[in-house]
């Protein structure tokens, strides 16, 4: 592959509410067995991108733990590999990453030392599967300076949390607005960009000289008339999990057979860190309907339209409905959980009731757990 990969994984979003307290969005559990960043990492690996840098900043401990070995995504190689760049104090810099462009600028020596002619930039909070080679071919074909992967969202959907673009008939981007209040277009940027490595270095250095730190507003939008910025429309599944609603919806999408087959059964596969957990166990009293259950779970109750991540214990006479239970949660007997997201490693006492009445409730207890 002629490109080096960069995954922007430093971000936090207040619209993730309490879910972002524990970890960066890129480390959010998705689809029962994965972390959000697994999708970008697996796409890189499956596209034969051998060198990938992950830029982290906000609450990176969980993410670093997930990335502690690169072997799961096949990056443990002599050529290239997985690099994790946290902000670091140096002789001439003592700043945190002040924006996405700054994050890359602070690691510009990495970019300069590589020899691959292209760079693929993506973010760690999107759920999708794509062959980056297809986009690179398109990029070369269009003689573009920058190619932005775009996605048409459903008509009428609120796109105000995305970058919204408009292209001309040649697919050149003629309008690019970041998080507009009102928008005429429903084509959004999927946060995946391809450009020449030298082009990126040049843009980053110039922006830094002008004290501009954001890749979208300070580079893409400012350069859009000067440089040939093209849009590549992806038709495949794509979702971004930056808000509680989108996080919930993206997970629930995996209950649909087409989404499940697409990610779970169709090649190429999505990889993740392997936990050595036993198979899920269903005791007497378990009654599971339309749900995804990860390994290591032990279930004694009713579960409906829900996703149970790894190692969840569900006691007797519980009802779990339309909910997402993250890793390693213990649920005591006679508990009712409806329209909730239960934070990982939580312990829910017996005889409790949780129900999201207007939207999704995030359950975030701090009970001590007694393990026999």
């Amino acid at each position: 592959m002629k490109a080096v990969g960069i995954i922007l994984a430093g971000g936090n979003n207040s619209r993730m509410q309490e879910l972002s307290h524990k970890r960066a969005i890129a480390a959010m559990p998705v689809g029962g067995s994965y972390r959000s960043i697994d999708f970008a990492l697996s796409n890189m690996s499956n596209s034969h991108v051998q060198t990938v840098a992950v830029l982290t900043q906000y609450s990176a401990r969980s993410l670093n733990e997930h990335l502690s070995s690169s072997k799961w995504w096949d990056f443990g190689r002599k050529q290239g590999g997985l690099y994790v760049f946290n902000p670091t104090v140096t002789v001439d810099n003592s700043w945190w990453y002040r924006g996405t462009a700054d994050a890359m600028y602070q690691n510009i020596s990495f970019l300069k030392q590589r020899h691959e002619p292209y760079v693929i930039i993506t973010s760690g909070d999107c759920v999708y599967k794509i062959d980056y080679n297809k986009i690179l071919d398109y990029h070369i074909d269009k003689k573009a300076d920058v190619t932005v992967v775009c996605k048409d969202m459903d008509k009428g959907m609120d796109v105000s949390r995305f970058g919204v673009v408009r292209m001309n008939e040649d697919a050149r981007i003629i309008e690019f607005e970041e998080k507009p209040m009102v928008s005429q277009s429903n084509t959004i940027s999927a946060g995946i960009y391809i450009m020449r490595r030298r082009q990126l270095i040049e843009m980053l250095e110039r922006s830094a000289a002008e004290n501009r730190w954001d890749f979208v507003t300070d580079i893409l939008i400012r350069y859009k008339n000067m440089k040939r910025i093209y849009g590549y429309k992806m038709q495949e599944y794509w979702n971004n999990i930056a808000t509680v609603e989108s996080y919930y919806q993206t997970n629930m999408d995996f209950l649909k057979p087409e989404v499940r087959n697409y990610f779970f059964r169709d090649e190429p596969k999505i990889y993740s860190k392997v936990d050595d957990l036993p198979p899920a166990k269903y005791n007497v009293g378990s009654d599971i309907r339309n749900s995804l259950i990860a390994s290591g779970c032990i279930i004694n109750s009713k579960v409906e339209n829900s996703i149970l991540f790894k190692k969840v214990f569900v006691g007797k006479n519980c009802v779990i409905k339309n909910s997402i239970i993250l890793n390693d949660v213990y649920i005591g007997d006679n508990t009712h959980i409806e329209n909730c997201i239960v934070e990982s490693r939580d312990t829910l006492k017996a005889n409790t009731y949780y129900c999201g009445d207007n939207g999704i409730k995030i359950v975030f207890e701090n009970n001590a757990r007694y393990v026999l």
Partner: protein, 424 residues
């Protein structure tokens, strides 16, 4: 110059066919047979090794080693990918003179003398790849050292009335072994040998050389008696945990079913002493709106649309709509059609069972092909087999290979019959 020294290395005997598992081992060695919805039998001794701090393991293979080789690889799942030591797969090999297959357990170890020598061990642990158990070999080694033993044999107490099925060890109050009895009619002790030995290296080496011309040289039959006759210090280490021989279809089925219990005697869900395995299917499992699942363990990535009671289901299995499966073992990647009824069956990996099939009906009749193997009322289906739509299969039956309607007279395979279309 100093040399690599490992205090104890393990030699894991994984070359046997396990012919009493019938069609399950037609294409794979017994240690590679799936167990417990996720694992293979060899995962248990391998995990025991790494959990006991043994980082050098030689795995001796001979019969159908392909699956075993790809499963073990360079040992990553068990953390046995090491700069020094780690896991090595040791098949028999050609030499300038006297090339031969492994003719017996001790002969296999003898043929790998160079491998063992290269680690300069003080002790060698001999294991077999066909038991389900969790055991700390380090505790056994401590026992060996405390007693200044030459050979330590792991034993476990069995009910006296069953002792006649085992190799029995008679030891004094200090656990020093006085006598052996192989499958005695009137056992004088209830300590059964588990086929797990620790040898002091010099003792093992001397015995292997002394017995090198013995044909089919075997630990139980030749090496241990040789050491005993020479007056060496043999001790019986008593193990009291869960240990299950899964050598027959009946015991294999039973050991799987025991995992389903509310709190199983052999608990895979404990944090302590994890069992590791290579898992290439990691996605969660899906249970549809019509599914019923009770008293089961189910592996990753399986999709259940039917009803499953009291089963051990592997990874990537599909069970169709309207299908009812009871008391069965279904292994990895097998697909079962719609409206199928399955009772007390063992279905190996990557099988295709058509729609409207019935497995395990009728009366128990002794199997005509091999009465002692295919009994226990089980239906046994070998890996990569295909069973066509609409057929009915009785008890004590075996099916292997791609079968068609024509193989089932009137759409029925009666109890006690077998269809073997694959294999050598």
């Amino acid at each position: 110059m100093d040399v690599v020294r490992k205090e104890m290395i393990a030699m894991l005997l994984a070359g046997g066919q396990g012919s009493r598992l019938g069609v399950l081992t037609a294409k794979v060695a017994k240690p590679a047979v799936a167990f417990g919805g996720k694992y293979r039998i060899i995962d248990f001794p391998l995990s025991n090794c790494i959990n006991s701090g043994i980082d050098t393991v030689g795995v001796l293979t001979q019969y159908q080693p392909l699956r075993l080789n790809s499963h073990i690889g360079i040992g990553i799942p068990w953390d046995l990918d090491r700069n020094s030591g780690g896991v090595s797969v040791l098949p028999p090999y050609e030499r300038s003179v006297n090339s031969e297959w492994y003719t017996g357990t001790a002969n296999a170890i003898f043929q790998n003398m160079d491998y063992m020598e290269s680690y300069h061990p003080e002790y060698v642990l001999i294991l077999s790849g066909d038991h389900i158990y969790k055991m700390d070999y380090e505790v056994m080694l401590d026992f060996h050292k405390e007693n200044n033993a030459d050979v330590t044999i792991a034993t476990m107490p069995v009910p006296l009335e069953e002792a006649g099925r085992f190799g029995i060890v008679i030891a004094d109050e200090n656990k020093k072994i006085e006598e052996f009895e192989e499958k005695p009619e009137h056992p004088r002790s209830n300590l059964a040998s588990m086929g797990i030995y620790i040898f002091s290296w010099d003792v093992l080496k001397e015995a292997l050389f002394a017995m090198k011309d013995q044909s089919g040289c075997d630990f139980g039959k030749h090496i241990i008696p040789y050491c005993h006759e020479k007056g060496q210090r043999l001790f019986a280490y008593e193990y009291n945990g869960y240990w299950k021989d899964v050598g027959t279809l009946g015991s294999y089925w039973e050991a799987n079913m025991e995992l389903i219990h509310l709190i199983p005697e052999f608990n895979l869900y404990e944090e302590y002493w994890k069992i590791y395995t290579k898992s290439d299917i990691i996605e969660p499992q899906y249970l549809s709106a019509d599914s019923v699942v009770e008293r089961c363990i189910i592996g990753s990535g399986s999709e259940i649309y039917g009803e499953v009671y009291g089963c051990v289901i592997g990874a990537g299995v599909t069970i169709g709509k309207g299908t009812v499966v009871r008391d069965s073992i279904i292994m990895k990647d097998t697909r079962i059609g719609d409206n199928v009824v399955i009772d007390k069956s063992i279905i190996a990996e990557n099988c295709r069972i058509g729609n409207n099939v019935t497995l395990g009906v009728g009366d128990e009749v002794p199997n005509k092909l091999n009465e002692s193997v295919y009994s226990f009322g089980l239906v046994t289906v070998g890996e990569d087999s295909v069973i066509p739509d609409g057929v009915s299969v009785g008890k004590n039956t075996a099916i292997s290979g791609v079968t068609e309607q024509a193989d089932y007279p009137n759409g029925i395979l009666a109890s006690g019959e077998a269809i073997i279309k694959a294999g050598d």
